[in-house]
């Protein structure tokens, strides 16, 4: 089955992001296709490489990065949500005159059209949040 995943909550604050990760990983391991993981609302905070959790805790951001590396997974942060919350890549830094970037590798910032497209292209859209 072809799946699209939407993550609506930030890491550590809310279980949604853990559930989304485990669901996505399990689906990929079972041989399903994950067309895209789209991060919206505070979910965009899953994509900052500056996250530093305590050493005995899971590293939610790195976990996504490793999954993307292994399965060539498309991880997309919504640009409007990212701009509000200070998630910045090279392009955004240049466009908006910011002095730093913080996006993690394997993530990219793009528009809401990517969510709509994923919903159209996939057999199921699975939303994680409250």
């Amino acid at each position: 089955m072809k799946l699209a995943v939407q993550v609506n909550e930030g890491p550590y604050q809310h279980q949604a992001t853990d559930s989304a990760y485990h669901f996505t990983k399990a689906a990929l391991e079972k041989g399903h296709e994950v067309f895209r993981v789209f991060f919206y609302h505070d979910g965009v905070n899953n994509g900052t490489r500056l996250t530093t959790p305590p050493q005995d805790d899971r590293n939610i951001v790195n976990r996504w990065v490793e999954l993307a590396e292994k399965y060539d997974l498309d991880l997309v942060l919504c640009v409007a949500a990212a701009q509000r919350r200070g998630l910045v890549d090279d392009g955004e830094a240049e466009r908006n005159g910011k002095d730093a970037t913080n996006i993690a590798p394997q993530f990219r910032i793009s528009g809401l059209g990517q969510l709509i497209e994923a919903a159209i292209q996939s057999d199921r859209l699975v939303v994680f949040g409250d």
């Binding site: 949500a81 969510l115 709509i116 159209i120 859209l125 939303v127």
Partner: protein
Amino acid sequence: MSDIKKFMYLNRRAPYGTIYAWESLEVVLIGAAFDQEVSLMFTDDGVYQLIKGSDTSESDMKNFMPTYRTLGDYGCRHMYVDKASLEARGLTQDDLIEVAWEDFETEEEVDNIVEVVDAEQVATLLAESEVVFSF
């Protein structure tokens, strides 16, 4: 992307207090460009998103609620409101805005696409949807 899917935007949150309602509306507006079959459903505190006469002037919040009135122009064909959620909050359809819709090709017009539906219809409408965006 030739196929057209039944999209349902399920709005469960109050318009202010959290950003969900506003960022949900942003998806609806952007999604209009994809020409899908779009409906919205308002349940729980989400019914407050359609309340008449909102005024945010003293809260330093942008009043995005007039945008809902334009959704007919963005290709939204139905805006359903859960009857039980309305009643639980002492509201009726008279408290809600009206949203007009017109098909510019066929000139078909509907004065108000805001429709109060019962629990059974809510369940059926959600089950019939191919994509449910839940906010």
